[in-house]
Symmetry: C2
Subunit: 288 residues, 2 copies
């Protein structure tokens, strides 16, 4: 059943507007995503809205129709709610002048470090405070097929409207894990995964010369303070990007993106080398 | 002379607050930068404030003292104004909860394409709308010693508070040039400089395989629409970054950063090769 809502005072609309604030996201167990493209990509990645809002008179748009049916069918047998409303009320929920055709509320998925399956490359960010940087890093993780973003200690909320927006849908494809620094270091040591940290540190070498053999954890630090000493000490290798200007550091999202692409390139080169028999196989292999 | 201002109704403070809006920046011929570190870096790069504000009782802080004297001496013989005020009024100008020790207003420097001296690598952005992305790209230009950021058509204002903040002082070290697409294409052709554009285009090749021989122009497009067809056609080469996830594009600041670093690395490799005499100099050189 599609509900029609045209009053700004509607309780559900008020609840959805409140999701701009972290305490209400936690209370409701919901977060917002906006836009037909991102909500469709979310559906393709297995995310079904708990509540779907769409612009009145647009239920025949094929993608909206698909989202609408998926929401009413629900995930895991629990049907969601579908609300048809005015563009003005949609704009009020997103807080943007240009209203989107759809806005949807989803239940967040929390993953623990213990249950994370290590992939070839994973990004780790410590005390990342800016939700825009967080979203941009999720997008870079998606682009480089990194298997997770691990957020240490007090980071921005990956389900905030700003982070979801900046991620351009990558929040639905890249698993986000939250952990304390201490738990993370213990996990990394138990699993025996190499940790490579970007830091202004006398021990740091050029990021292009590092060993990115899979699996590898790539770590960046807080916007203002970088990585704390304890986390730098926990790294197997410290790296730095060449700085040829006046400033001594890059924006954290830029540093993370450069590391992720360097790891992707290095790992793809290694895979290509391994899969191609060389022109001269090692002598021992021939004589064995 | 240091003026003491403690009233929020002060005309100069009101003027400075108005600089958050583009029309007042244009009317006043001033833009804002905040923070002792950035204002000191600006001074080191030859930028003297027209108006300097600092937190009351802090005139003995060595860096503030230096900024204060530089402002009173003025640049080009025209002395600036120095205002001592309360942390609360400073916070009101920046609009941030944590007040800075200093806030300064500078006269923007406009550069024309005609007078731009081409460097080894320059970044070009077309219809870049987000001031945060603009600032981040200025920071990437500084980090890779790119000689200019060229902004085509309707871009965000590089002197906006958000762009200056995101640039972390790079707005004082990287020249910004504004031009129309048409004027830019004509300039590039007259000067004979290679133009390399990042675009989702069937003609685009892997960005690591491109020719970055100096001088080179690296171009990125609008956040939502990428580069328009006319600008893609004006490129000598089109490139793309590997996309291994669900999304088909990177954030424009990330794409620009990857291109700038790739150009820096390629040009530094070329310079190293040229400066080292090879083990076997060319035969013609020996026989000539």
């Amino acid at each position: 059943m599609i509900e029609l809502v045209t009053a700004a005072s509607n309780t559900t609309l008020k609840r959805l507007r409140s999701l701009h604030e972290k305490k209400y996201r936690q209370r409701e167990g919901l977060f917002l995503a906006e836009g037909l493209r991102i909500c469709t990509e979310a559906l393709d990645s297995g995310w079904v809205p708990e509540i779907l809002l769409f612009a009145e008179g647009r239920s025949d748009q094929p993608l909206i129709r698909r989202l609408l049916h998926a929401t009413l069918d629900g995930s895991g047998g629990k049907p969601g709610r579908v609300i048809e409303t005015t563009p003005a009320l949609l704009a009020k929920i997103t807080g943007k002048a240009n209203p989107q055709l759809v806005v949807a509320a989803y239940a967040p998925r929390t993953r623990s470090l213990e249950r994370l399956q290590p992939g070839a490359r994973m990004l780790v960010a410590e005390q990342l405070r800016d939700p825009g940087n967080l979203g941009t890093l999720l997008r870079a993780c998606d682009a480089t097929a990194a298997s997770a973003l691990i957020l240490l200690d007090a980071c921005a909320d990956p389900t905030s409207v700003e982070a979801v927006r900046a991620s351009m849908g990558a929040c639905f494809t890249v698993p986000c894990v939250m952990a304390s620094s201490a738990a993370f270091v213990q996990w990394k040591q138990t699993r025996g995964i190499r940790l490579l940290g970007a830091a202004l540190d006398p021990r740091a070498g050029d990021y292009r010369a590092a060993d990115y053999t899979a699996p590898v954890l790539l770590m960046v630090g807080n916007e203002a303070h970088g990585l704390p000493a304890a986390l730098r000490d926990a790294c197997d290798d410290l790296v730095i990007m060449p700085m040829r200007g006046r400033a001594d550091s890059l924006n954290v999202a830029m540093a993370g993106t450069l590391l992720l692409y360097e790891a992707l390139h290095a790992q793809e080169r290694q895979a290509a080398t391994l899969s191609q028999p060389g022109p001269n196989p090692p002598a021992t292999a021939q004589s064995g």
